[in-house]
């Protein structure tokens, strides 16, 4: 199936849903890694919104982007409870291990605040990270 057919299918799956924009954007992101300008126009048309409205929503939320980043993503929790457990001391090593191949993202809390430092790769979560474990995670990402 080509991209535009896939997009049409995603939009159709949410037809008739109230407030369908965020669910559609999540599905598009999952399928394509981002929400490109062309897709925004189709989504706007289908939901009877202006392209500016769709663009504004994408710009508001941290999860949505307009351009893809093919690198694997390791999201490291940098919120207070993980800071209290020493995450900041691990950041430099994680970035060194990541180099240009892996992206080290930042999240604020994964809800595992008693066992930090914590990281997320896709839907997998990892706790009790020290430098060696984090570097190994990044290397395997």
């Amino acid at each position: 199936m080509d991209d535009s057919a896939r997009l049409a299918e995603i939009i159709a799956a949410h037809a008739g849903e109230e407030g369908a924009l965020l669910p559609i954007l999540h599905d598009v992101r999952a399928a394509f890694g981002c929400i490109a300008r062309a897709a925004q126009a189709d989504i706007a048309q289908a939901l009877n919104l202006s392209r500016a409205e769709v663009h504004g929503v994408i710009g508001f939320y941290h999860d949505f982007t307009e351009t893809p980043d093919p690198r694997p993503l390791v999201e490291l929790c940098r919120a207070e409870a993980c800071q209290a457990r020493g995450v900041e001391a691990l950041v430099a090593a994680a970035e060194r291990a990541a180099g240009a191949r892996v992206r080290i993202g930042k999240v604020w809390c994964l809800g595992l605040c008693s066992v930090g430092p914590n990281a997320r790769i896709g839907d997998d979560v990892h706790a009790r990270l020290d430098e060696a474990r984090l570097v190994a995670l990044v290397a395997g990402a």
């Binding site: 508001f60 604020w108 809800g111 605040c113």
Partner: protein
């Protein structure tokens, strides 16, 4: 064949529960995946015939099966950490399989809903008011009054919305409940919907909680016949902290930017799609089945401290030895929570500060650890209990850095609607940087258009006075608590640890 029980909660899995379960399966055991007891330093925790072993790894499997592992903690149900608690909302934690309708029904599941349907909307609301239940999302608004407002509103459509955005660092009770006892939340929503006459419900879960989303979706499908005609849909956030604010959340559900709405109108009168809407936190709604059980409201009202009735699922997090979920009646002190129950810091160093109530909560020094856990007592001490997160820091923490982080967080997460929050937070970061590095000539203040800026060099005292003034502007000039409460962590850090600032 031996049956072992291991949690499938995200935290247990992040600590290696899946590999452990696999190792037990390979050793020929039947593995039951249950909810977590909330003793996080022991995860993954293995239960064999009521006896606990943790934190366990695959290497411990033979020892555990032989009954002579050094990871043994004795009878789980009698563990000190649990013995001191009074679990009502988390009564099933560790005891049931999250998606088992059979386990749920066998542990008083659906009894609150059945009784609610029998007594009818007016009596439900009277019981919730009598229980003294207040919103667990942070603001502490009486839950029964909100239900009554929505029930009395005249409209063709009404909604029940569960706020499961749980963005506060140091909190995980919503996540544990959704992953461990999802039917309890569904039952609570069904009771609220019955009380106000709503036919549709939404659970808005943050995108950082993929496991909770999956569990809630599966549970909604399984429970659909039980709660009909109510239909519940799970919606996923998109990484914006401010979407935990109820009006921002409603905008997000409607497919808009998550900007905060001015109140009035109250969401109870004009909420989702302009219809009367109950918006409550996960823990508020999940407390309803117990309150609606026979005698539940009076029992709930009989627990607690001052005007804070019932129990609070407190979350012990950060640099603490025994972190986890601790549900007790209101009134417990920080000293008991942090030093006695929590066992002090995980690092073994002295406690320097505790932040209660998430990123907008005040930092509290050990000299104030006598403070009872109670909405009013905290407010009187310029602090808040928020969603009940307690984050412990040891002596190595630099409080000026934490103050800067509070401003940085506000700047990153501001919805942008009002100036004190959107711009003030960035000015706050700059000011705290100046305070940390010492006075250098301020390039911005020297610009010709900055006519009101004082000319000469600004000293530390001037910068601190400016910071205090900025905090006052944010506190009184912001539309919601993101801008309005960010001064709490900043000013409490400054007040109690002035030596850390420059």
């Amino acid at each position: 064949m031996t049956t072992v029980r291991i949690s499938d909660d995200a935290l247990a899995r992040a600590c290696g529960a899946d590999a452990l379960a696999q190792a037990f399966a390979v050793a020929g055991c039947t593995v039951e995946r249950v909810s977590s007891w909330g003793m996080h330093w022991l995860e993954p925790l293995v239960e064999v015939d009521g006896l606990g072993f943790g934190p366990a790894t695959a290497a411990d499997v033979p020892g555990i099966l032989a009954g002579l592992s050094d990871k043994a903690i004795g009878r789980i149900g009698e563990h000190r950490f649990l013995a001191r608690q009074q679990r009502l909302t988390f009564a099933r934690a560790g005891r049931t399989r999250p998606l088992s309708l059979g386990d749920y029904a066998a542990t008083h599941g659906w009894e609150g809903l059945a009784r609610a349907r029998a007594i009818g909307p007016q009596a439900i609301i009277a019981e919730v008011i009598a229980s003294g239940l207040r919103g667990r999302g942070g603001a502490g608004f009486p839950a029964g009054i909100k239900l009554r407002t929505v029930a009395e509103a005249q409209a063709p459509r009404k909604f029940v919305v569960c706020n499961a955005d749980e963005g506060d660092s140091g909190t995980f009770a919503d996540r544990m409940l959704m992953e461990g006892d999802p039917f309890a939340l569904i039952e609570g929503m069904a009771i609220a919907a019955h009380a106000v006459g709503a036919e549709a419900g939404y659970v808005y879960v943050r995108s950082e909680y993929p496991h909770a989303v999956a569990k809630m979706r599966a549970a909604c499908t399984l429970a659909a016949p039980r709660i009909a005609p109510l239909h519940i849909e799970v919606r996923v956030g998109a990484g914006a902290y401010v979407c935990g604010e109820e009006t921002s959340l409603l905008n997000s559900l409607e497919g808009k930017r998550g900007e905060v709405r001015a109140k009035p109108p109250l969401p109870a009168l004009a909420g989702l799609f302009g219809c009367p809407t109950v918006v409550n936190n996960v823990l508020t709604l999940a407390a309803l089945p117990h309150i609606l059980s026979e005698g539940g409201a009076a029992h709930y009202a009989g627990l607690g401290h001052g005007r804070s009735r019932g129990t609070m699922p407190i979350q012990l997090a950060g640099n603490i030895r025994h972190g986890g979920l601790f549900e007790v009646p209101f009134g417990i002190t920080l000293d008991e929570l942090v030093n006695t129950i929590g066992g002090g810091t995980a690092s073994g160093r002295a406690v320097k500060a505790v932040q209660v109530g998430g990123p907008l909560g005040a930092y509290i020094p050990p000299s104030r650890f006598d403070l009872p856990f109670d909405y009013e007592a905290y407010a009187a001490a310029d602090a808040l209990i928020g969603h009940g997160g307690v984050v412990v820091f040891d002596e190595r923490v630099d409080m000026a850095r934490m103050a800067r982080f509070a401003m940085e967080f506000c700047a990153a997460e501001s919805c942008g609607k009002c100036t004190p929050c959107r711009i003030g937070s960035t000015r706050g970061v700059e000011l705290l940087d100046r305070i940390a590095t010492g006075a250098a000539p301020d390039a911005l203040a020297a610009l010709p258009q900055m006519r009101n800026a004082p000319r000469g060099l600004r000293g530390r005292a001037d910068d601190i006075a400016l910071l205090e003034e900025l905090c006052e502007t944010m506190q009184y000039g912001s539309l919601c608590a993101l801008g309005g409460f960010t001064p709490f962590p900043v000013l409490s850090a400054l007040r109690h640890w002035p030596q850390d600032f420059g």
